[in-house]
Amino acid sequence: MSPRLRRWGLKLRQPHVILGLLLLLVLIGLVLVPFLQLIHDTLVYQEADLRLNRSAEPGAWTFFHYKRVFASALSRNVFYQPLLNSLATALATSFTAMLLGGLMAWLVVRTDMPFKKTLSLFAVTPYVLPSYTLALAWLDFFKNERIGGATGFFSFLFGVSPPDWLAYGFVPIVVTLSLHYYPFTYLLVSGALSSLDSHLEESGEVLGASRIRILRKITFPLVLPALISSFILTFSRAVGTFGTPYFLGAPVRYFTLSTTIYTSIINRTPAMAYIGALVLILISMVIIYLNQKVIGEKSFVTIAGKGLRRQLTPLGPWRWPAFTFVAALISLAVFIPLLLMLWQTLMLYPNDYSLGNLTLHYWLGKSQAAVAEGESGILRNALILGAAWNSIRLSVLVALVTGLMGILIGYAVVRGRKTRLAALIEQGSFLPYLIPSIAFGAIYLALFSRPLGPLPPLYGSFLLVVLVCVAKNLPFSARSGISSMMQVAGELEEAGMMAGAGWLRRFRRIILPLTLTGSLSGFILAFISAMRELSLIILLITPKTRTLTTMTFRYVEQGYSQFADAIILLIVILVVGGESLARRIGKSEMI
């Protein structure tokens, strides 16, 4: 063996290199292979295609699916209209969310609005709730006769049913999503505003500029990068979200790309779903790229160690109106919907808002043939309790596995600093971020619905649901792992090496205890996101692996809003509990 090869051999024996190579394999398996499989499936005929094209040979290469999606009589309905709807709702949502969040951030950080502390505490709560919570609350309020079941609170109040445009489709999707996503902008912009060096504004004041002029000419341009960034990120999430557009759009056949992906799978034309997923991924990538460009070119160094003593803008007579505005916004986004949903779950017969109709049946009731086809209350219902157990099991497992993966990735990246392998792992673990949830689910469906070599198909197994959640969470867990690993000086591990401890022992006795506290908030965030996940797993869930979120979905489809609402409230309790735990531990990043 040549000395050169020998030297390579020595380098390969280092634990962070071995671990790095293993992680690279895992990343390839979790992200790259499913992605390639997805592309492959769009390019070949499948068994199911025999229904559409008799001459199709399953397994043969073809552009059949692409033609069908992009250039056929169906294209308008299955692709162009949904694409347009996706872009329209996402654009309108991001714009509204940016306005609401930006205004709120400015009011909370830079003015003398009353009760700022309390308001800022609740300002981000909407984002913690499952994204479709507001959609269900909207239905509880605005539902009309178009879909089965009782009508909503609106008809009860006014005696007329609301028009379709108000109950379903574009308007409600944009309103509910904006109220869900505005905390994004709020967090980014309030972060930018509070780190802004107030000397920049003060020097404008010294020059005699008016408050409005300073706001317009100095403050606004300085937070512009944060605003644009939040616009772009909101867009990328809104364009790929599934629950809300499905609940609010499907009744009037208002489809978006994400809901089309779902219906294509249900209609057994998976290749069309996969092409939709590819388009979504493409949109996402363009958006992330734009974001990088914006951040790269437009970020100002405005952070200064000093400048903490900030001049607040006096609102004068507008103080209380401003407070009312923000408080109303938060109520609309959080408290009113949750209360409305709670009320719904307490009504024995829908649309009867009298006190005599109040009941705990949907929570605790035994099966009664007359009510809801004999389903018992959710806390007694074996199916729902099973789903709750699945949800908790899933969230805990996902939190543990992603947390551990995060620490391992952190180890390989931080110890291998400046090597190509480390860079590859760091970038690779970011990839799932580029893929919208529903598309990610579709990718896993493509790969795991068939046997993989000697392995049986994973579709229908609990393991697959865990895998997809772990993979989708990798970008966040990797980031948290890397940053907590940075806190652990290399010498602490080297001291263990000097004592003769092998890698496993060093990891168990030194690395793990020292990174665990830093990663705890990451664990809890993974727990939360798995607990409320719908878009990602909806395509992969079977009756055996039902979770609370997919049960909600089922009950909405069947028109049992009481059950759906009760389950959502259960999820909210679990999620808010987890979130406040994370907040207590501190350092929790919501994005």
Binding site: R6, R13, Q14, E491, M498, R505
Partner: protein, 372 residues
């Protein structure tokens, strides 16, 4: 045979060469200090000997066993080299008590519990940490943490101690105390020690041998006295000593035994020096080898006091003569003040002469064989 033998050791970080073709042997019982400005590669050498850093090429042998060889593809892991290391940051595990920190190495060697407790107690007692075993490192002072780090290194009885600037995080008073502690440790434990520092006083007081590094290259490895009296290059002469040595450019005049050094600021006879007539040289004179006298006699030259820098036990006087400023060390205090006219008296002995262009030592005046 030397206990530690380093042959042709080279390490690059990217395009920067941290250590260049290092050859160094350390005998059993030696206290060798690696001394040099920061970034000169001394810590890298220590880490390569310890097995924490992989050299690009070269060979390291410890007690006759090859522990690293790029040619043979050998790299013995750090824990199996029989070496103890004290880190600059101490690297005490913050989630373990002092006792757990010290016991860790014994645990790995699977020492029975009773025996382990006894050895940990011994090490803690030895480092005067009795009764502090249940504390966490964060609850201790810097000096105590340093003792814990030393106890942790001692407890497994390594043949070789490596110390990476262990005193640099301590205040001046503690540093003096710990310096004595380390010297005691070396004498009593008898372990071969390699010690890294950028503090030359530390190096000169502790070591049996000092190795001076510059930009990854070993410049000179000699006993402290020789490093000070007989530096092999201008770099070493200039680097060692505080205040720095006086460097005076000039040329050699004459031939045979009666050579004369002629510079702009002064002329000196150079007894015993061997150099060709007209050679361009740099004369190097330690500040304590110059005396300030009040009258011109025996070759003293006039100058003007430029600044007086008292430092308690000694005073540094800067004297200007023509365009040269001489540093002179005077014991105790002085009545001199800036602007005073004085005379400088030079002893021709123990002046080092360097080749002006190459910076290499030509010889030391006053020593028959050029040696002191």
């Amino acid at each position: 045979m030397a206990l530690i033998e380093i042959r042709g050791l080279t390490k690059k970080f990217g395009s920067v060469t941290a250590v260049q073709d290092l050859n160094l042997s350390v005998d059993a019982g030696e206290f060798l200090t690696l001394l040099g400005p920061s970034g000169c590669g001394k810590t890298t050498i220590l880490r390569m000997v310890a097995g924490l850093e992989m050299p690009d090429s070269g060979e390291i042998r410890i007690g006759g066993t090859t522990v690293f060889s790029s040619r043979q593809g050998i790299s013995v892991s750090a824990g199996k080299r029989g070496i103890g290391l004290v880190f600059q940051s101490y690297a005490l595990w913050p989630h373990m008590t002092v006792r757990q920190n010290v016991a860790f190495g014994l645990e790995i060697q699977k020492v029975p519990a009773e025996e382990m407790n006894r050895q940990v107690d011994d090490a803690l007692d030895y480092m005067r940490l009795k009764g502090l075993g249940d504390r966490y490192p964060q609850q201790m002072s810097g000096g105590q943490q340093q003792r814990v780090a030393l106890a942790r290194m001692l407890v497994t009885r390594p043949k070789i101690f490596l110390m990476d600037e262990p005193l640099s995080n301590l205040d001046a008073k503690l540093r003096l105390e710990m310096r004595a502690e380390i010297k005691r440790l070396h004498r009593e434990a008898g372990a071969t020690t390699i010690y890294v520092t950028h503090d030359q006083t530390e190096a000169l007081t502790l070591s049996t041998r000092v190795a001076i590094m510059r930009k990854g290259v070993l410049v000179q490895a000699s006993p402290p006295r020789e490093i000070y009296r007989r530096p092999e290059s201008v770099f070493v002469a200039d680097f060692i000593g505080s205040p720095t040595i006086n460097l005076i450019p000039g040329r050699i005049v004459g031939s045979g035994d009666g050579l004369l050094f002629q510079g702009e600021a002064l002329s000196l006879s150079a007894p015993g020096l061997r150099a060709p007539d007209g050679a361009e040289v740099t004369a190097a004179i330690r500040p304590e080898e110059i005396r300030i006298v009040e009258e011109e006699n025996g070759g003293a030259v006039p100058g003007e006091v430029y600044a007086v820098l008292p430092a308690g036990s000694e005073t540094i006087v800067q004297v200007r003569r023509k365009d040269t400023i001489f540093h002179v060390r005077v014991m105790g205090e002085t009545v001199l003040d800036a602007g005073d006219r004085v005379f400088l008296s030079f002893s021709p002995d123990s002046v080092c002469y360097f080749d002006h262009h190459q910076g290499t030592l030509i010889g030391v005046a006053g020593a028959p064989d050029g040696r002191t």
